[in-house]
Amino acid sequence: MQAPRIYAIHDRALTIEFSTSISEEINLLVLQLHASLETNPFDGFIESVPAYSSLTVYFKEDVSITKVETTLLEHYTQCIASSSTNIAIAIQSAKHIIPVCYDIEFGLDLEEVATTCKLSIQEVIAIHTSIEFRVYMIGFVPGFAYMGTLPVALETKRKNNPRLAVPEGSVAIAGLQTGIYPATIPGGWNILGKTPVKMFDKTKEPCSFLQVGDTVQFKSITKKEFEEHK
């Protein structure tokens, strides 16, 4: 394990970078450090934000940044030690089966993706529903889960001209990632279908349907089933 890099992104926020690549193992360590800080917060801790391979900690302005750095490294060392001895903090992660209607009315880029990947539409759907994806981080907009890892057969580039309004619930792919748009917003990912499941709900606790560490498998549903689910 290489030594982590720690740097400031604000005078009240430090990022600890575990690695510069993406892996499930590293992301799990990020989550363990996140859980360790939430269960055992230091004085002045506000919140921590997990990303693919780094964690960012926000703290109050009256705390010394060097003290936070020391504390962060202590938590990190503990996480590394406990993960190698299997006494790591148990991360609660849910398994979800998310229904998606892959009708071309919703799957605005389905035909284009099939052409680019030299597959039939049925094959695209078959591949997208065959994998159990992991939620690596949530960002971009509230409730947007970055999930991986997509098989190389479905690897696509982002659209050259992003759409000004991707409809809420759109299930999309880009690179080796897949995600669900939680609101109608601009976006450049390739849209395969639409889910009736709400990804962000401010009245629920937590407000995001998916959490980092959760697993997601997509299930193809008909347009009729989609309407009934709504």
Partner: protein
């Protein structure tokens, strides 16, 4: 007690000092762009710093007071009148029912803050009254202020001490003799200097780009908004093309797009980003930047001394 919005102006929303604790779900911190001005407005009214205020970009706002209200104007970007008479910023103002406040164009600053003594009745969502339009959070039904909105001012718990000295004149309002001490606002002809420190990816930029960034003048682009300031000027490039793994970003971070244009992240910055971060604006200068409007000129003053 209430206030009716006759015209919202260029853009007007309810903000406080932000929504904390939800970034892990992708919810931005948000809140007032110029936190210093928002705090000053509240302090003039003897409110808590966290009280919700109105944030008005530039001019055009027109509102009517339906009762006698005490309030304060801070920040800039406009010249204010009550019932057609000029009124100063950074003082406590007491105004009688039926009076009309208007914000007119001005060369200084960009954002006016209006705080009301005792605060506004606004339901907090996810711990904050700040408006975040993309997720319909906070403010008036999760959106910006529109024509006809009626804002409710909280019932007075106590008369602000400072209010007692204010005498209402024949124009229907009175202002405090004392004022809050504030920093000067940037003018359209200024070159605003912003203190910066090198960002996490500073070393990935080529030397020419590092020099351009530190020495040349950039202009605040017309596309700038509460999420970020798009800066126009020379383009910046990396030593070699690098794909970065997305990681957390926040207000003040200067990221550079694939086309080489710097974007300074502001209040509604997304929680995570993937562009290389050349530098960050020191938090003490963010309020100054929030008062720079599109077209204003900015120079980045890199301080090589890093806090870490």
């Amino acid at each position: 007690m209430s206030i009716t919005i006759i015209k919202p102006g260029v853009s007007c929303s309810i903000q406080d000092l932000g929504r904390w604790g939800y970034q892990q779900f992708g919810v931005p911190i948000g809140g007032a762009m110029d936190r210093d001005a928002a705090k000053t407005a509240n302090r003039l009214c003897e409110n808590d710093d966290e009280e919700a205020v109105l944030e008005c970009a530039l001019h055009g706002l027109e509102l009517k007071f339906n009762e006698t209200v005490c309030f304060a104007l801070t920040g800039g970007g406009a010249r204010a009148t009550i019932n057609g008479i000029d009124v100063s910023y950074n003082r406590l103002i007491k105004v009688i029912e039926g009076s009309i406040l208007k914000l007119h164009p001005d060369a200084f600053g960009c954002r006016t803050y209006i705080a009301f003594a005792s605060g506004l009745t606004i339901k907090k969502e996810l711990g904050s009254a700040s408006t975040y339009v993309a997720s319909a959070l906070g403010g008036m039904h999760g959106r910006n202020i529109i024509v006809g909105d009626e804002l409710i001012v909280n019932k007075k718990i106590k008369e602000p001490n400072v209010e007692k000295d204010i005498v209402i004149d024949e124009n229907g309002f009175g202002i405090s003799k004392w004022k809050a001490q504030v920093n000067l606002l940037p003018n359209v002809n200024d070159v605003v200097e912003l203190s910066c420190v090198p960002g996490p990816e500073w070393e990935l930029f080529d030397e020419a780009s590092q020099a351009i960034f530190s020495n040349q003048i950039f202009t605040v682009g017309a596309q700038s908004n509460r999420m970020g300031y798009r800066m126009e000027g020379a383009t910046l490039s990396l030593k070699e093309k690098t794909e970065l793994v997305s990681t957390a970003v926040t207000r003040g971070i200067i990221q550079v797009t694939n086309q080489g244009h710097p974007i300074i992240l502001m209040a509604d910055a997304q929680t995570i980003g993937g562009y290389p971060r050349i530098a960050r604006v020191c938090s003490k200068d963010i309020s100054l930047l929030a008062q720079c409007k599109p077209g204003m000129k900015v120079k980045f003053k890199i301080n090589p001394h890093r806090s870490l």
